[in-house]
Symmetry: C2
Subunit: 369 residues, 2 copies
DNA sequence: TTGTAAGCGTTATCAG
DNA sequence: CTGATAACGCTTACAA
């Protein structure tokens, strides 16, 4: 059986991918003619072209195989051939799995459908992989981590990309000099606050992450502004009813949640509603509140953010009232934007803002009078 | 400030990456001497080499930039330069998010630490992206989907890779002709069954996915064999106590779970324990059982598989007894294996099997007498 | 120790 | 319409 296969094989050794020269030899034409024929250059006799294309097919010629040579040749004439590779930076620990996954899924889906392969790297990696400086990547998509946080790759990348046409799209958080896809967190927080105010709540605890070394955190500042605006628009004073729970560190809050809530309630006994920084905290909050003898939404209303993580009730239904952030759409928009930048040689910065939406479920209820 | 930057710039236009010729011109040596110096070739005077390296640094010469040219040049001599790109196929819907994420995280972590970038593709993509046939990918890692299922990319890839040295590592399910990283599901299922038998259970329902068009599903067959072996070793007859619940379709089971369980119990009223095909079904099963008036583990014991998805109790603690499959380690091992294949030019197939481990939590209890 | 030659596979430019 | 030429940036083989 092996022998048969070998006999059936083309005369070219299977080791080596077929080249234009191979085709030219077979057809008795010059290499250039082959090159032209395969690129549908008009100035080659249709008959010759047909014969060439046939032979190419016979030999299993695959233009993609010699993409690198093509790029090299065209560089002489200043022609940039796109490579069909995007790169993203996603946290390797995927701590908030659904959050990043949604973004990632959107990016992957759209990149793929546009013919681009997607490289993934962990933003905490200590040094950029060779491929990033090689010029093989057509563009980058990343979460626009605020300056001092984890934008290691972005910071490290920028200098190596200097002078090279290599667009970077940031998602969710704006970064100077990059095209961006943002979400309207201001309006989301506004809607959530308005919802609570309309339910009669007047004293709301707003989780407000602020890590000292990081400076202001764009998203959370936007949201805080939205909350305050709602207070004002409804005729209330945010300084009297909206309490910011400043968090100096986001992750290990699991253990400290009960303590944080207890102290917040001690300082502001009137609190009847809580705005969380993301859905992941909801189950922690539910636990902590239960320990304080409070049940949701009877005694206290809770609103999440992102709509990325469910808070399942006994029947497995998600009962978390939250602000939906269209994460997958953000990913799709970013990839689409990048594809446009890359294929249309467009170099102007672009900005898109996607709407958020309040999703009312079961963790908010009218204020008990 | 811009002006200053421009004045400080090197004489080479920043548009163009520095080349060896640029360095040679500056140093008054030939291009080839530069090539040698930068590759630490011994046969170049140390003094000259030093000067060359200095100039290279000044000009910001980055060898990675011209990686493609290097590959092209070396091909003449039959030398294969590795490209430091791996590719994986991961389901884009990430239906069982944690499961695939764990695998992915392992692959990504190890690939990155070995200096390889990771390309991700959705296995359902209709046609392979250009990069896959281009020879830019050094090797592939994928779940070894059984032949008839979603191995679209694998099937479509193999012919294009014919004759090319491009190793493929499959995870979890063996595929002919590929190196593999497997898990000992036989032992895992054995341990789970033994655990239940020791607790006094004699009538166990074993979910046994079997999709007609797919033929036997390796993992589930392994597990079933493990279950049966345990029955035999403990002196029981699997044909009398181990009931297979054949599933002809895995995904939309959510709605059919209550029905499936009801019918299984009708057929085999003695059932006191259930072996699930994966953790994701645990919450569905809990619901369905609750609806039948049965509580876990009082009335019925339940064992999951994978330890990828928690079954949280009221306090958020995972109470699912399950078989831990070291998914992240599988990913790491696969990437490590691939790196070895690629860097050591090794072409012999390799196989690794990682152990599984029964994790006893709160969903299994002694049989009520 | 250094330089010269030739070529990897392709393409734009110019000549036939 | 077709072909020869030179180049993209690099490397091995061989000569000086």
């Amino acid at each position: 059986m092996q022998e048969m296969d070998e006999r059936n094989a083309q005369t070219t050794t299977p080791e080596r991918a077929a080249t234009m020269q191979d085709i030219a030899d077979r057809c008795g034409v010059s290499l250039i003619t082959v090159s032209r024929a395969l690129r549908d250059d008009a100035r080659v006799r249709p008959e010759t072209a047909g014969r060439i294309r046939e032979t190419a097919a016979e030999l299993g010629y695959d233009p993609a195989c010699h993409h690198a040579a093509r790029r090299l040749a065209l560089r002489k004439h200043g022609i940039h051939v796109i490579n069909h590779i995007f790169a993203t930076f996603m946290p390797g620990d995927f701590a908030r799995a659904n959050y990043f996954l949604s973004l990632f899924r959107g990016v992957l889906e759209t990149a793929t459908s546009r013919g681009f392969a997607l490289l993934t790297a962990d933003p905490t990696m200590t040094q950029p992989l060779p491929i990033y400086t090689r010029g093989d990547v057509d563009g980058f998509i990343t979460i626009g981590w605020d300056t001092c946080q984890q934008n290691v790759p972005l910071a490290r990348l920028t200098p190596t990309l200097r002078g090279r046409r290599c667009p970077i799209i940031v998602m969710l958080i704006p970064v100077e000099g990059c095209s961006r896809v943002l979400t309207d967190d201001f309006s989301g927080a506004y809607a959530a606050t308005a919802h609570l105010l309309e339910l009669g709540h007047r004293h709301i605890l707003h989780f407000w992450p602020e890590i000292p070394e990081m400076g202001p955190i764009y998203l959370h500042d936007q949201r805080r502004a939205g909350c305050r605006q709602a207070y004002c628009d409804y005729g209330f004073n945010p300084d009297e009813g909206l309490y910011g729970l400043r968090m100096d560190n986001m992750l290990p809050l699991g253990e400290r949640m009960p303590d944080a809530l207890r102290r917040a309630r001690a300082a502001h006994p009137g609190i009847t509603a809580i705005l969380l920084p993301n859905d992941g905290y909801a189950s922690l909050a539910r636990e902590a509140l239960r320990a304080l003898g409070l049940s949701i939404p009877k005694d206290i209303s809770v609103v999440g953010f992102d709509d990325a993580e469910p808070l399942p009730d006994a029947a497995g239904q998600n009962l978390l009232t939250t602000v939906r952030v269209p994460l997958e759409a953000v990913g799709r928009a970013a990839a689409e934007m990048l594809a446009r930048h890359v294929t249309e040689q467009q170099s102007e910065l672009e900005a898109v803002m996607l709407p958020t939406e309040l999703v009312v479920r079961g963790t908010t209820a009218p204020l008990r009078s």
